[in-house]
Amino acid sequence: MSGQLVAAEGLPWPPRVGDFYPPDLAGPWVTKFTLMVWLAVGILIIFFMVAYRNPKLVPSKGQWVAESIYGLVRDNIAREQMGKDGIKFAPYFTVLFCFIALTNLFGITPGLQISPNSHIAFPIVLALVSFVLYIYAGVRKHGLGQYLKQSLILPGVPWPMHILLIPIEFLQTFIVRPFTLAVRLFANMFAGHLILLVFTVGGFVMLASDSLFIQVSSVAAFLMAILMAFFEVLVSLLQAYVFVILSANYIGSSLADEH
């Protein structure tokens, strides 16, 4: 069977990491990925500027969409995670949510077919912003010493335990949090693209085989590809939501008065 599949000439089979790194368009600065990021930035700026160029109390359709997203992030993420303090972070969270959701959805957008977030560089940038933001918020509210004390020292624990706990807490707050934030988003997008590659390219490979049975079976692969595409929409939005909700949670815990 593998012999039959290999016979599908010209198709990149099996999918590999190299598929995520198409050749540069014009040097390392102008690639499909950087262009997609600029595209996302352009779309979001234009959408919000147009939707909100003349806001009214009774909104137009565009304004309503923009406000629904804002309201979702403001009330369901910022206020839920951080209470009243969260509302002043809601604008940033909205931008973050829209950017992640849109770049994630590029993964199933015809013509683009891959999310910029499947290159870890972009999730790293976003995670670093959240990282800086929650440390900055904590230091500004409590002062550096108090903030470190709060994040590293658990109250009500016998002191010898701190020998063990302080490194764990440090690792948790200052290394694991930003790392997982970036990797979670990257890995979801990477895996999502890989799954779509497996089913679509795999379907074409099966179609190109000699055996009629395998050719007919390719229908199942294409159906799975369609199903997975819808699944990817869900994952895209969910990962954007998770990224923002965790950022909000981290900033909220920095601002909290107790550990």
Partner: protein, 176 residues
């Protein structure tokens, strides 16, 4: 192995540094534009809408409460006015009654006064008339007597008694 032939296969967990730069600049630009020009207005609009809806409800409630209060107030005022009017009517009735009795008493008094004055003046008149009559009767009597005397002085003594008696009779009649 086609791609591998083009170059070293990139490790997916190692970021491409150019992408880090581009991502930072692009995201910073996005944040700058949206946070500066769009989001503040969004929050303002959000607040305005919340205010418009909740504020409208609150205002309606307040207006309703005020209207109810005014209605109560007017009702109370109306009742007050009614009792006041009734009181005024009662007072007026009582006043009229007292005025009537007062006038009646005055009239009665006046009529009594007039009657007594009339009686008194009648008595005075009578007295005067009696006095005049008496004088006149005396004169007449003397006249009569002289005439009788002129005719017959013989019966002087007899006639003296007659005159006396007559006068006494007159006096007693006047006293009566």
């Amino acid at each position: 192995m086609k791609l591998a032939a083009e170059g070293v296969e990139h490790h997916p967990l190692v970021p491409i540094w150019q992408e880090l730069v581009i991502g930072s600049i692009a995201f910073a630009l996005l944040c700058f534009v949206l946070l500066k020009f769009v989001m503040p207005r969004m929050e303002t609009m959000y607040q305005a809408r919340v205010d418009a809806i909740e504020g409208g409800l609150k205002r309606a409630e307040a207006a309703q409460a005020e209207a109810n209060q005014l209605l109560e107030q007017y009702r109370a005022q109306l009742a007050e006015v009614r009792t006041e009017a009734a009181q005024i009517r009662d007072d007026a009735r009582a006043d009229a009654e007292s005025i009537r009795t007062e006038i009646l008493a005055k009239a009665r008094e006046e009529s009594d006064r007039i009657i007594t004055a009339g009686r008194e003046s009648l008595a005075v008149e009578r007295q005067t008339i009696v006095r005049e009559l008496r004088a006149e009767v005396g004169g007449l009597a003397v006249d009569l007597a002289s005439r009788i005397v002129g005719e017959s002085l013989a019966d002087e003594a007899r006639r003296k008694g007659t005159v006396e008696r007559f006068l006494t009779d007159l006096e007693s009649a006047g006293a009566r």
